[in-house]
Structures are given as C-alpha cells and as structure tokens.
C-alpha cells in the first residue's frame, strides 16, 4: 500500500470513530428521552434529558472537534503531509 493510501486509511478510521461518537450524542441518546428523564443520574442537579439538550451534548461536540483536529494533525505529521507554515 502506498504512503498516500495508508494515510487515507487512517484518516477514514478517524472519521468513523468521530462520527460514531457524534451519532451517540446527537441521535442515539435521544431515542431514550423518557428514560433519561427518569434516570437517577442528574448532572449538576438537572434532569439528564434536560441537561444533555442544553449543555451536555453541545459541550461534547466542542471537545470532540478539538480532539478530532489534534488526531488528524498527528496522522498528517506521521506521513509527512503537514503544511509548511509559509504555505
């Protein structure tokens, strides 16, 4: 496999992981809205369903994007595809 193919292989893997986490917190958990509401897990005292819609999922997305950007930069570095600063 060429260098470029390996790079794309890893990039795709990272995409799948990122989208899987995204799916859980944007779609997956909201199948269980009623269960979340009844749950005894109450972050900061809010009902879980309420908390996830106003802060939880939103905050996770912010962290997820920065995590994704860092991982992708590492992959690019590994294969020598990092941009020159003066580009």
């Amino acid at each position: 496999m060429s260098k470029q193919q390996q790079h794309w292989e890893k990039t795709r893997m990272l995409l799948f992981i990122t989208l899987a986490i995204w799916f859980v917190f944007s779609i997956g958990i909201f199948f269980f809205g009623a269960e979340m509401e009844a749950s005894s897990i109450r972050p900061l005292g809010y009902p879980l369903s309420y908390y996830m819609t106003c802060q939880g999922s939103l905050g996770i997305f912010v962290i997820l994007i920065f995590w994704f950007a860092n991982r992708q930069e590492k992959i690019d570095e590994e294969f020598g595809y990092t941009e020159r600063e003066d580009d």
Binding site: Q4, H7, W8, T11, L14, L15, T18, L19, W22, F25, S26, I27, F30, F31, F32, G33, A34, M36, E37, R42, L44, G45, Y46, P47, S49, Y50, T53, C54, Q55, S57, L58, G59, F61, V62, L64, I65, F66, F68, A69, Q72, E73, D76, F79, G80, Y81, T82, E83, R84, D87
Partner: protein, 606 residues
Amino acid sequence: MFKGKFIDNLPKIYGTYTGGFIVFIILMAIAEQAGMSAKLIGIFFVAFTVLIYALIGYLSRTMQTDAYYVAGRQVPTVFNGMATAADWMSGASFVAMAGGIYFKGYGYMALLVGWTGGYVLVASLLAPYLRKFGCYTVPDFIGTRYGGNMARLSAVIVLTVASFTYVTAQINATGTIASVALDIPFEIAVYVGLASILMCSMLGGMRAVTWTQVAQYIVLIIAYLLPVFWISNKMGAGVFPHLMLADEVARIAELEAQFGLGDVKNSAADLKQVPKGLSGITKAHAEVNTTPWKFISLAVCMMAGTASLPHVMMRYFTTPSVKAARRSVGWSLFFIFLLYSSAPMLATLSKLSLMDPNLATGIIGKSISEVQAIDWYQNWNQANLMFVSDFNGNGTLELNEFFMGGKAVVLATPEIAGLPYVISGLVAAGGMAAAMSTADGLVLAISNALSHDIYYKMINPKAETAKRLIVARILLVLIGFAGATIAALEIQGILGSVIWAFDFAMSGLFFPLVLGVWWKRANAQGAVAGMLGGLIAGSAYLIAVRSGYPGFWGVTQLTFGIVGSLVSLVLMVVVSLMTKAPDAATQRMVDEVRIPSGKAILGKQH
C-alpha cells in the same frame, strides 16, 4: 493601522474595541441616571454600533479578487471562529431561540442539538478538504470537482434557493429591531437595515464582512450574557447560572403543578381575543414532551443543513491553512456554545421571574388589574408582545390567562427583572448585530456565486479583475434589494423560514458535497441528478404538505430535507454508477484534496 501588520495586531485592536464598547455601555448607564430618555438610549446603542461596523467595512475596502472573495486567506483561527459564530447566529438564534425554549421546552431543544452537532460534520467531512481545494465559493468546488457548467449551475441554483429563503428572514429581523429602536415604520426600517448591511460588505467583500463579523460577535455575546448573569444574581439563583439553576428548574415544575398547568384549556372563543403571534405556557418546562423520532428528525435536518449551507462553509475558505480550517471549526462551535447554552438559562430565569409569587416580579396569581397597571406590562402590551385577560372572571391572573410573544423572552426579560433600561438598549444592539452579520454572510454568498460562478466562469471568462469586482458589487446590491423587498411584505415568520433554508440546503447540497470528497467514483451526471433531484423532491414534498397532504414517516414541513436528501443520495449513486467513471485527472485531483500539504487545486487568483 489596517495595513501590513494588521493581522499581528488583531488581539490588540479587538481588545481595545471591546474595552471601548464597555466604556460606552458605562457612559450610557451614567446618562440614564442623569435622566436620558429610554428612547434616546436605544437610538444611541443601535446607531453607534452600526456606524462602527460601517467604518470597519470602509477601512477594509479592496480591489483584489482573493481579498474580496476569501479575505486574502489570512484570517487567524480564533478570529475566524468568532466571525463564523456571528455569521451563524442569526436574528433567530438571538431573539427567538430563548422564546422557543420558553414555550415549547424539550421538543424545541432539538434545534440546539442540531445547530451545534452539525459542526462535527463540517469539521470531519468537509471544511478542511474544501479549504485545500482553494475554491472561492461552494459552487466553485462542485464545478471544478465534477467538471462542467451544468454541475456548477445546479449548485448555484440550490445555493440561491436556500440562502435567499434565509436572508429575507434576516433582513426582516434587522428591520424589526431598527423600527423599534429608532422608532420608524417597519417598511422604512427594512431599508435602513439593508443600507447598514450593504455598508459592511460592499466595498470590501469577504474581507470587510470578516472584520465586521468579529466586531458584531463581541457586541452580541456581551449583549446576551450580561443580562443572563445579572438576572440570575439579582434573583439569588446563583452567580454562574449555567451550573446553578437546577433548583430553579425544579421550582418551575413545582409551580406548574401548583398553578394547574394543562388542567384548564382555553376555549376557542377565548383564544380569539389573544393577539396573533402570542402564546401562553402550555408545556411543562423540563419534561420530555415529544416522541424520539420528532426530536431526532429535526436535529438530523439541522445538522445536515449546517454542513451544506454555503455561507458557513465559505468562512473556512479564509483561513491560512487546512490545519487552521479544522481548528477554526472547533473555535466557531465554542463561541456558538457560549450563547446556545445560555438560551435555556434565560428561558428558565424569565419563566421563574414571571411565575414565582415569592419574587417581587411574579405576576401569576396577582389580581388582573394590578398586573395591567405595571409599567412594563403596558409597554409590551402596546408593542403587541404581551396580553392578559380574565377568561374565568375570578379577577386573578391564572397561568392560562397570560400570553407573550416569543421575542419578548429576550427583549423584555431584562425590564421585567428590573434591570436598568441601558441593558434593554444593549440587547437591541446585540439583536441588530446578530441579524446583520448573518444577512451579510448570506448576501455575499449569493452574490459571490452569481458573480464568480455564473458571470466569470460561465459568461465572460476573460473579464478583468476590476470588471469582475464591479459586477460582484452590483449583484450584491441587487440581491440585497430583492431580499429587502420580499422582507417588507412579511410573508413568513422568522424561525419558520430559517428552518426551511436548512432543509433546502440539505436536500440539494449535502450528498453532492460530501461524496465529492469521500467517493471518487461520483461523477458530474450523478452530482447534477443529485442536486436538482434532491431540491425538486424536497420542494415538492414541502408544497404537498402545505397544501394538506398528510406526509409519510412523520416527515413534516420542518423536516422535508429528509425526503429531499434521500432522493438526492439515491439519484446520485445510481446515476453515477450508470455513467462513466470520472477521468484519471479528476481522480488525481480528489487524491490531492485528501492530503493537507502541497498546492491548492485552484490557484491563488482564479
């Protein structure tokens, strides 16, 4: 000061600007104490901020194509994040969102999840690759990746339909705020709003819009957060509302039970007396009040729409590198998060201050005549945003006898909670900034697509730079006027048309954009079929549902993008596989796009 070292000086420049704005707020507060009238304070706030934006727009004027179309590709990561956040958060986010949460609760909050989750798709699927491509506009990417004028034209059509639906709502919002703050009729205020929007974008294109959007973000976030923190502290709810309102949320549930929420239904005859657009509290504040599918389908549409709206995507064309584009998406979402996570808190504080009889501001349970004598009630009743009526004739205001407009949650809460008027002036300036910044981005997205993709790439490829930029500006003014004219007719509500814009964009552009990067086999025929087929299917479904067709799979007029984008995906895959694979050069181009280093596909000036 705006030459050479401008980029290095950004933190200092915007730091000074923020400090200056805070000094201005303090001066206004002193003026209020000295007896300046509320109306004059409102005029000062809106006029002063709009003049600053216009000044930035003038200082950023340019005659170079890459500065006009992509701000010279030198906007640093964090500042591009702020500009995107302003570009993104429209009048609807600023003025209507907290109101939506106030009235509709959990079901409405699907929009919060959708409008933030979409950025994960932007960061991972699209933004870095389109930045590497080096395009000026979104149709520029489609046209070059798939080849041929038909693909380019189809992309321009989808872009125009989606963005134009969106922009009329924004010009409408600028008009509403300008008419209230400056006290002029709405039909005139719409054009005042338009003039302010054009002043920011006409001379400097994307460069001017970028630097005004950063300035607008600073105004709008101060204007949104300051009242939330102030009210929370004043009420004794906690110094940091986001982390400390759990007791208040529980207290609202208690009061809802006490006041018998949902026990008494208003009769149709009673509801007839309520002015149009106002509603009462009918849904519990924090209860799960919708089916999973309703919640998820709305969130999915908003997420895919986010990843297909060209005015957002083109902000990531302005960063210095692919790496910066990726990080910039993270910063954008962080800056958006600051406002979105505050909207539910504002809704909570607003509801509690109206409902709780233990608070001085609570009105439910008081006598009707007492409420009707309150100053702020009279003001907002006059503005057609508040209404009470003694339906059951017992002389006391019940929960089902109080009605409010969605906008009032943001606009009136500071006054209800007893904050000085200077805060209300600040909120008006913030709303104006939010609506203007989004309108600027949208008008520019449309006119850039028409001037670059239609005029330069298809009609007159030999046009000189000067001529191209003049055409771009003429189109900008024309689009603006068309938008303002339609806005002045007030056909649709603000929020409804914003949601439609997402569905249109998703129907026509989501899969053609994503597959352009992630599926090498996708070809021009497939893309054209996908874009046009998706747009037509989505629009047809919308029209059908609006004329009485019950629809299927629980897809409503707010989520018709699901139908449109599925048709788009199927058509695109089937037609691509039935026709010839893209040639070797195109395949190499896709390979090139997938690695960050090396030259952009399209040159610096093209």
